[in-house]
């Protein structure tokens, strides 16, 4: 069935029927190409979405102190609640079962100066676990560590854009930056996928910050991460117990909603993941739609091609072509055309996607891609259905009596 002679015959037919070949090849190539591009864009959309919403650690609770709205146990309402270092220790001691990491956060804005140039930046005073909850990526040097916290060192880790602003092309590690009345040593540079804003930050040990602020022990927020194995239910239970614990400790009316805020990322993550899966369904729908359109296109062309060749097939049969050889010829031809043009469309689509990368980021399409399995399956499907679409009319044409085919003017 696949002798060299037969291939020669097929190539000859293909070469001498250029319009037909181009038409059917174009349909298949276009079908695959559009499928790859659309599917890739869909994935790019999903990438942007994930970058927007799924960047931070997903198993975290954020605790913010508020202002009470109800009088309770001798305290008046409108009382400002504050967190202290002891709260950190309390959480660590009372919630070991749930707890994975804990870090405080103090937000400030400061002017940083280096060699006479100064600029103002947001400063975050934190613990070493903060690297984990924000998924901060260290490019150079290191993050603030436990030793920095314990010894209240004047070390800072700066964002990529801060380093760019201040040091230009200089290596920032080991350099000293003035902040307030003292000089801080840069120990690391980080990047953050959440975007530019996150990369214009400066991290320093929270204990150092407290020392700078008259050696107090106040904390703006507490961020805790819990064991991801707890799941959604466990996270809710942790949130509830943590809330109850702090309402007792800070003497807040249990029904007071504004004394203490807890933000649980799992809830948001769940919603986001639902949205992401809807996006995935849309992408799949678009892909399948394109593929079906392609299959219908190639089927139409195959039916037309066989119809057009009915007489030729009759002649071939009169000259001694067996039905098998007729079907085989049409199938080989169509499979050859669909395979080669399918692969062409596939490669072209993949090539264009790979060239795009983040050029379409402003349209929320980031790093569009198609995984190779999807691409191959799609190509295979198109080839397969192209073959079936060729087989059915070919089979019928092969079974027509040559005399009928010949009479068909």
């Amino acid at each position: 069935m696949f002798s060299r002679d037969q291939w020669q015959e097929i190539f000859e037919t293909i070469r001498k029927n250029k319009l037909r070949t181009i038409l059917s090849g174009f349909t298949v190539a276009l079908g695959i190409f559009i499928f790859i591009i659309l599917f890739g864009f869909g994935n790019g959309l999903k990438n942007s979405f994930e970058q927007f919403f799924l960047d931070d650690a997903t198993n975290t609770l954020w605790l913010y102190p508020g202002v009470t709205s109800k009088a309770y146990r001798g305290f008046k309402d409108n009382r400002r609640i504050e967190f202290e270092n002891s709260d950190l220790i309390d959480i660590e001691e009372n919630f070991t079962f749930f707890l994975e990491n804990i870090t405080p956060r103090i937000n400030r804005r400061e002017t940083l100066s280096y060699r006479g140039q100064s600029n103002s930046y947001n400063i975050r005073a934190i613990g070493p676990a903060h690297q984990y909850v924000e998924k901060t990526i260290i490019m150079k040097g290191r993050f603030i560590n436990q030793k920095d916290v314990d010894e209240r060192t004047k070390n800072i880790t700066i964002g990529r854009l801060v380093a760019q602003d201040i040091f230009k092309k200089e290596d920032p590690i080991g350099k000293y930056i003035e902040m307030g009345e003292s000089a801080f040593k840069v120990v690391g540079v980080f990047q953050d996928k959440s975007g530019d804003r996150e990369e214009r930050l400066v991290y320093l040990p929270y204990t150092t910050r407290q020392l700078m602020e008259k050696n107090n022990d106040k904390i703006d927020q507490i961020i805790v991460s819990f064991n991801p194995d707890l799941g959604y239910i466990g996270a809710l239970a942790f949130e509830k117990q943590l809330g109850d614990f702090f309402k007792i400790k800070k003497v807040i009316d249990p029904s007071d909603k504004s004394g203490l805020y807890i933000r649980n990322t799992t809830e948001r993550v769940r919603q986001n993941q639902q949205f992401a899966s809807v996006l995935q369904i849309i992408v799949a729908f678009v892909g399948i739609g394109t593929l079906i359109a392609g299959i219908i296109g190639i089927s139409n062309i195959m039916v037309f091609v066989v119809k057009e060749r009915t007489k030729e097939l009759g002649v071939r049969k009169a000259l001694g072509a067996t039905p098998i050889s007729v079907v085989g010829m049409i199938l080989n031809e169509s499979i050859f055309i669909t395979t080669s043009s399918g692969i062409f469309g596939l490669l072209l689509g993949v090539f264009i996607l790979s060239r795009l990368e983040d050029q379409l980021e402003q349209y929320f399409i980031l790093d569009p891609y198609v995984d190779s399995l999807t691409a191959l399956i799609a190509t295979f499907l198109l080839i397969f259905f192209g073959a079936i679409a060729g087989y059915i009319p070919a089979k019928r044409a092969a079974s027509i009596k040559p005399i009928v085919a010949l009479r068909d003017e």
Partner: protein
């Protein structure tokens, strides 16, 4: 070479059936040049199609070179057509995207011959019909007579036992008709058995025997003095 007994064929036309061949008995020897005549509807084309294994009889025997042609599968019929029969059609039926030599080589392809041998043989037969210089031309670049000569070369290339020609001059003017018929006579003189279906008496008189069909039966079967044409080729 060809022997048929009591051949019947009818076509279903909706509820009624049309009895086209009503018991044909015929014997054709090797080397004969037979014209099958008759008006349209007489059954001459049906007879030729059955002889050419393009159609199947309802009843009766058909022996081709002492081989019983009956209950053939499509594949075997295709093989027999390929080895035993050469066809020449009124409308030439050349494959339009293949040039002359490729058209002639096509039956050889289905015989499973090697490409080189096919080309060689095809060229040889094109030479015989006087179209060696036209080997690389597409059918659209050939005149009607030339096309039919290519078709004859193609029919001859597989070295069939019988050449079947269905109105071979039907689409040609009288000059080219003579050209084609002279070629057929020449091939016959080389010993090939040839059947020509025609409704033109002038063409029939160029054969050696005329069988006249009317309403599905043979009404006349006579040997004649052939009008020999000068060699055009």
């Amino acid at each position: 070479m060809i022997q048929i007994n009591n051949l019947h064929k009818s076509y279903k036309m909706g509820s009624s059936s049309l009895h086209v061949l009503k018991g044909i008995d015929l014997k054709i020897d090797e080397g004969e040049l037979v014209a099958i005549m008759g008006s349209s509807g007489s059954g001459k084309s049906t007879l030729l199609n059955i002889l050419g294994m393009l159609d199947i009889a309802d009843e009766g025997n058909y022996l081709l070179d002492n081989v019983l042609i009956k209950d053939l599968t499509e594949t075997i019929a295709a093989n027999y057509r390929n080895r035993f029969l050469g066809f020449v059609f009124q409308s030439f039926n050349l494959i339009n995207y293949k040039n002359a030599i490729e058209n002639v080589a096509l039956p050889l392809y289905y015989q499973g011959l090697k490409r080189k041998i096919r080309q060689q043989k095809a060229l040889e037969y094109l030479k015989k019909v006087g179209l060696k210089d036209w080997a690389k031309h597409l059918p659209s670049e050939l005149s009607g007579g030339q096309k039919q000569r290519v078709a004859i070369a193609r029919a001859m290339a597989s070295e069939p036992k019988v050449l079947l020609a269905d109105e071979p001059t039907g689409a040609l003017d009288s000059n080219t008709s003579n050209e084609v018929m002279s070629l057929i006579q020449k091939i016959n003189n080389d010993g090939k058995t040839i059947l020509v279906v025609t409704h033109e008496i002038e063409i029939a008189q160029m054969c050696k025997r005329i069988i006249t069909l009317k309403d599905g039966v043979i009404v006349e079967d006579k040997k004649i003095d052939q009008i020999l044409l000068e060699d055009y080729v």
